[in-house]
Amino acid sequence: MVKVIVNGKEVEVSEGSVVLDAIKKTGYSVPTLCFFKGVYNEAACRMCLVELPNGKLVPSCAYPVSDGLKITTDSERLRKTRRMVLELILAVHKMKCYQCARKGGFCLLLDFAKEFGVEGIPVCAECPLHGEDCLLVKGEPCLGFLTVAGCGSPCTREGTPCFGCRGPVTREDVIESAVKRFIEHGVDLRDLHSRMKLFWSSFPQFKHVFDLVLKYEKKYMGEKK
């Protein structure tokens, strides 16, 4: 058995285990994305970073314990780093939540995005409506694809199309694919515009979202014709 000190709390774990085990034993938690005990511990996602006394950041899922090891699981720097890493991951994530198998639950990315306050995941990720039930497929002007998640999608659960009260996802590729889908499913664009204006028009920082929507509408309407 070796003694590890997690945030000042001493804990004994068996030799050969990793820092994450010690952290779990003390009751603290660190976010993990790629770690899957016994299957994958390649330390690729870098969400589980913890800080050593010398200022080094190491992944807790792969760092072996040693006697008297002191680690910190939470600090300003760690939070910033994790948040940034999450932002990086989301920056290349495809955001096709409407066709994702995890739709409506257990999306770790969504949970972390909520926890760290990273915007960029649309309401669709939380919405439990699938396939034929999707309001968009029914032709209703649901803004779920464009709106920042985190509300728990109470409206779409009840069958009311999303109003976008949480503001839009401002990423260009998300907007493009959203507009593409709106047009594919024959949503009434005027209805859509009025819905978007309802909550977003009073914020000047969302103006470029409108511009982008109009730009891609033009593009895909043209293609359709």
């Binding site: 330390a43 690729a44 870098r46 760092y63 072996p64 780093t81 940034m84 990086l88």
Partner: protein, 651 residues
């Protein structure tokens, strides 16, 4: 077949591969030790003289390393052979390695008894005949440098001695002592020059004693991180189990660094000797040499050295009768920059890809889970030299924290590019200006990039910094493998940062997010800035993201990849600001930020630019001055490239 120095002198010598003599190496030079026979002694002394000065008394040396071959050494070698044959000159034509002074490639060295040994620089095949007849006529006035003075040859006083040249005088040739002198393909010559003595000494010691010597010498890994070599060896030695491995890291991938290639091509036996000593110290019986695929000659030379060493019992079973078995395998990498990283290198040998998280360090858990030490070519060459020459001399050089010498490759805007060996702690200024000759008339050094894609840029104001692991780190760069690229005022620092970032983006293995995505975003941001679309917030993004990538990445590649960006941002923020605020590139490098115009004084009206312009922005009649319409110009730079008289200028 002539008698070989490695062979038996007479039947009294009982050395065989099965039952090797313990004094085999010493016996090769100091004459027969087990029996006293003046004939044998004479035979040996005569052979050593023959190796060093040639059979005929006239030796012509042509360097054969990648750099000299690229500059045309093969043609020169052929010309020398033809010349010697056609004129019936009695001469030994041999090859040697590279001296490290690449600006004078290809060079040849002529030495005849009674004449000073003369080096001729930048030789063209056509000049060979003239050089040889001049030299044989007793005239050395057209030589570049002389190794010694005899006072007999004509024009001797006009030619400087090699050791008086600033680029030679300021060097300490410790590990590169044989480079350019020894024939890299001959073990005999290496031994005649005192080679394998270190191994001989080491095998008579206990491994702990060797570790102690290396510790006293204060040798730190020359691959970049500067980890104490003795500590690495000690950890590996203390691991339980009898299967251990040693690996020579010859996967030198930093652009602008070629000292490992030079050492392994010019003096391969020295690095091999170091590897054998390392294996003996930690108790490994199997070693690997991992060579970069882009450097085939290095692999060839190392394989040849391994073969020769095996032939004479320096590899294999019961080496020198000490009951120590060791063999080496040369592996050719398939080309990935990340393989220079220890764990990725191990993965490549195992037939996998990508690095893994450290710890466990390879010294405790490496190749196939066994303790493994991985040492850089230069480190191993140092080990061999320290064992042969003693640690005292090595420890007397260098700074307090880092002892000894280090080879640096100075390239870019200097007059004398090449690889130079200086004591650690020499200032950058001395290295760049005195040894490498500075940037030349009318040009100004703006910055010095040290350490390749993981290093940083040191501005001209900090050129007096002594080169050491710690001082460089403080200045925002790293020693790395020792590539120094001198950047003059013709280069744009944002472009330099972008170049290194593009390198790491392409070479990132893609395993961890900070490196894979973070570097891509850094690159995209830099591209935006060089295209004139940058905003001032971008600089903050660069800084913040760079810090995150540096601290959160998995391996050393990602951990150092943002260094070029961060260091240029630190010292050259004004250039970044000129790009984002004024949309101007001060060095006129970034295509989208310069304006092309045709200088009417130079234009000859050939119309080439007009034909090549993709946007029809150039107008003008044949034979008359052409003009670029700035509003139509897309700044592709084609006209600048194609103009035969250089009339298209940037402003």
């Amino acid at each position: 077949m002539t008698w070989n120095l490695m062979d038996k002198c007479c039947d009294k010598c009982w050395h065989t591969l099965e039952y090797p003599c313990r004094n085999y190496i010493r016996c090769r030079i100091e004459g027969p030790l087990c029996h006293d026979d003046p004939d044998c002694r004479r035979k040996r002394e005569y052979r050593i003289r023959e190796i060093l000065y040639g059979k005929t008394g006239f030796k012509i040396k042509v360097p054969m390393a990648s750099c000299t071959i690229a500059a045309g050494a093969q043609e020169v070698y052929k010309a020398v052979l033809d010349e010697v044959k056609s004129r019936g000159i009695n001469a030994d034509v041999t090859i040697s390695g590279c001296m490290g002074m690449c600006y004078m490639d290809p060079w040849i060295e002529l030495s005849k008894t009674g004449m000073p040994s003369a080096i001729y620089a930048n030789v063209k095949p056509g000049q060979v005949s003239k050089i040889i007849s001049e030299y044989l006529g007793g005239d050395v006035s057209s030589a570049y440098a002389l190794r010694n003075h005899t006072g007999k040859a004509k024009g001797e006083d006009k030619v400087p001695l090699l050791e008086e040249l600033p680029q030679w005088k300021n060097q300490v040739r410790w590990v590169s002592r044989n480079c350019g002198i020894v024939n890299p393909e001959s073990i005999e010559e290496y031994i005649a020059l005192g080679g394998y003595r270190g191994l001989d000494k080491a095998l008579k010691m206990k491994p702990e004693e060797i570790i102690e010597i290396i510790k006293k010498a204060g040798l730190r890994g020359r691959g970049g991180a500067g980890f104490p070599t003795w500590l690495k060896w000690k950890i590996a030695r203390e691991q339980p189990g009898d299967v251990k491995y040693v690996i020579m890291n010859a996967d030198e991938g930093d652009p602008g660094a070629f000292m490992n290639r030079l050492l392994a091509e010019s003096d391969p036996h020295r690095v091999l000797e170091g590897l054998i000593i390392a294996a003996y110290t930690i108790g490994a019986s199997k070693g690997f040499i991992f060579v970069r695929a882009e450097k085939p000659l290095m692999a060839e030379r190392l394989s040849k050295a391994v073969e020769q060493a095996r032939k004479y019992g320096l590899l294999g079973k019961n080496i020198l009768g000490r009951g120590f078995d060791f063999d080496v395998e040369v592996i050719l990498s398939a080309g990935a920059f990340v393989c220079g990283e220890e764990t990725a290198l191990i993965a490549a040998i195992e037939g996998r890809t990508r690095p893994r998280q450290r710890p466990p360090y390879p010294a405790t858990k490496g190749l196939w889970g066994k303790p493994t030490i991985i040492n850089n070519v230069e480190t191993l060459a140092h080990v061999a030299t320290i064992m042969a020459e003693g640690w005292e001399k090595f420890a007397s050089m260098g700074t307090e924290k880092t002892k000894g010498t280090k080879m640096f490759c100075v390239t870019g805007a200097v007059q004398r590019t090449g690889a130079y060996e200086v004591p650690v702690g020499t200032t950058i200024k001395k290295l760049v200006e005195e040894i490498a000759g500075g940037p030349g008339e009318g040009r100004r050094i703006k910055a010095v990039q040290i350490g390749g894609p993981s290093g940083g840029c040191v501005p001209a104001s900090l050129l007096t910094t002594p080169i050491d692991y710690e001082t460089l780190q403080k200045a925002g760069a790293i020693m790395g493998s020792g590539g120094i690229v001198v950047i003059d005022d013709k280069s744009c620092m944002v472009d330099v940062a972008k170049f290194f970032t593009s390198f790491t983006v392409a070479e990132s293995c893609g395993k961890c997010f900070p490196c894979r995505i973070g570097m891509k975003i850094l690159y995209d941001t830099l591209t935006r800035i060089t295209e004139g679309k940058g905003r001032e917030e971008d600089l903050e993004i660069l800084r913040e993201l760079g810090e995150i990538v540096r601290s959160a990445s998995l391996c050393a590649l990602g951990g150092t990849a943002p260094n070029p960006v961060l260091s240029t941002l630190r010292y050259f923020e004004d250039e970044y600001l000129a790009h984002v605020r004024d949309k101007k590139c001060p060095a006129k490098v970034c295509r989208n930020l310069v304006e092309y115009w045709i200088n009417p004084e130079k234009c000859i009206g050939c119309g080439t630019c007009k034909q090549n312009c993709p946007s029809n922005a150039i107008s003008g009649e044949p034979g008359k001055k052409h003009v670029i319409d700035v509003s139509k110009c897309i700044r592709c730079g084609q006209c600048f490239i194609v103009c035969p008289v250089g009339a298209v200028e940037k402003r």
